[in-house]
């Protein structure tokens, strides 16, 4: 059973609002933790996606999280200068690069994963495991269904 319409309307009205506030909070914590590693959030996102699936082209990475090509390009410049990733010529096409994680990048991976765990656990700590699972499921459906 749902709440009365007018109350639901009011609460619905705050959905985007709550989402923004939660997202800002998570982002601030993440950025704070990444600062110690001298990584920004985009570089972190790229590291995570390339660790998960190596040899992606820059275009594929950009499409993975709606970031324009030029931003990927610059973020990679930083990561490559620090020796965490490297661009290799793609086998399929000489105008593409495959992005690979270096040994130094692999060495950093455990710290990156630990940060993910800690930030997520910190934000969801007041929910039970079952509640967190449900929340994740609902969010996953929203992401999958809407566009």
């Amino acid at each position: 059973m749902s709440l009365p319409t007018d109350i639901r309307k009011t609460r619905e009205g705050s959905f985007g609002w709550m989402l923004q506030r939660l997202a800002r909070r998570v982002e601030a914590r993440l950025a704070d933790r990444l600062q110690a590693l001298d990584l920004n959030i985009l570089q972190f996102a790229i590291m995570m996606t390339v660790l998960e699936r190596p040899a992606q082209t820059q275009a594929a990475i950009g499409q993975g999280f709606d970031v324009p090509a030029y931003a990927i390009s610059r973020a990679l410049d930083g990561l490559e200068a620090r020796g965490l990733v490297e661009r290799r010529m793609a086998a399929a096409s000489r105008r593409s690069f495959e992005v690979h994680v270096t040994a130094a990048g692999q060495a950093l991976a455990p710290q990156l994963r630990a940060i993910v765990q800690e930030v997520n656990a910190g934000v969801t700590q007041s929910l039970t495991a079952a509640e967190t699972d449900h929340l994740l499921e609902l969010m996953a459906r929203l992401l999958a269904d809407t566009e």
Copy 2:
């Protein structure tokens, strides 16, 4: 009963990620709708909070959603120039202003509320009312409990 630990860990790992993606999506839609009214998101947020509770000082508005004073100041410049709000000298202190919505601002309110409804409904359309309620409740608890 919860999922096996390793799977939960992996899914937990994506909580912040899903949150970011959802928030970005909502923000993009909102910004898109607000463009027609020539309002940015901060100006919109200020309008909504002042409509809900008039006569707030700028400091109070800023604390309401973690926006620094200078940003409130500039956003109000724009809103005031367009005649949507006005700064009145506060009764309590001559160094504060109370922010009030003008008649023109009130006239805009229904459109603003309609945008909120539509954006939220659009994003949550794939959930039942009960599921949306639950999602809102879980998010509200996260916001309330964490800090």
